[in-house]
Symmetry: C2
Subunit: 112 residues, 2 copies
């Protein structure tokens, strides 16, 4: 349990972009919970299982995602999530929101 200020803030920052980054990942190709977690880990965005499952369910309820079951030779079947048309539309909005935020931080940071 790291309660450091930085660690806590990293969590906070991650928080903000989780749905966004999941949609980004699924826009590039279907994936299941563990594969998404791994993709995020690759870019140092660390997410717990307990975070991602409810989130995928939420995004599915919002109809930004759907899923299909697929057999695996490595264990139990996998629930492959796919982005929907609505998901892609929302993603475009999130792209814009992210750009705006990043620009805002940039401005504050550089003082102009």
């Amino acid at each position: 349990m790291d309660t450091g200020i930085i660690e806590n803030n990293k969590t906070q920052m991650r928080r903000g972009v989780l749905e966004y980054s999941i949609l980004l990942i699924l826009a590039a190709g279907d994936g299941y919970a563990s594969s998404i977690i791994n993709k995020l880990k690759e870019v140092n965005i660390i997410v717990a299982e307990g975070t991602i499952y409810p989130l995928l369910i939420r995004l599915k309820k919002l109809e930004l995602l759907t899923y299909r079951w697929e057999e695996s030779t490595q264990g139990p079947p996998r629930k492959y999530y796919m982005i929907t048309e609505l998901g892609r539309q929302q993603l475009a909005g999130l792209d814009a929101a992210w750009d705006e935020l990043a620009k805002g931080i940039e401005i504050i940071r550089n003082g102009y």
Copy 2:
């Protein structure tokens, strides 16, 4: 009460960088709650009063900030917050955390 997916996500994204952006602003010069809110508004980061006051108090408790009272000719006295040495140290860590996150998003977004 906008419950749209985008609007909600903007809130989430904001959430993650609020402490960071406040420290950035105060690192550039002392400020009081309203002036900080206005600076954030300038870069399209919209924050409510009910958010910023508890947050400043929290950052003060963590000793990242201190404050002094200052008279105003425009109304009641203002509580000017100042970043501490510890605050600057933590800010450096947050700079790094932000850069890492931004880089991560970039990678996911561009697919390499």
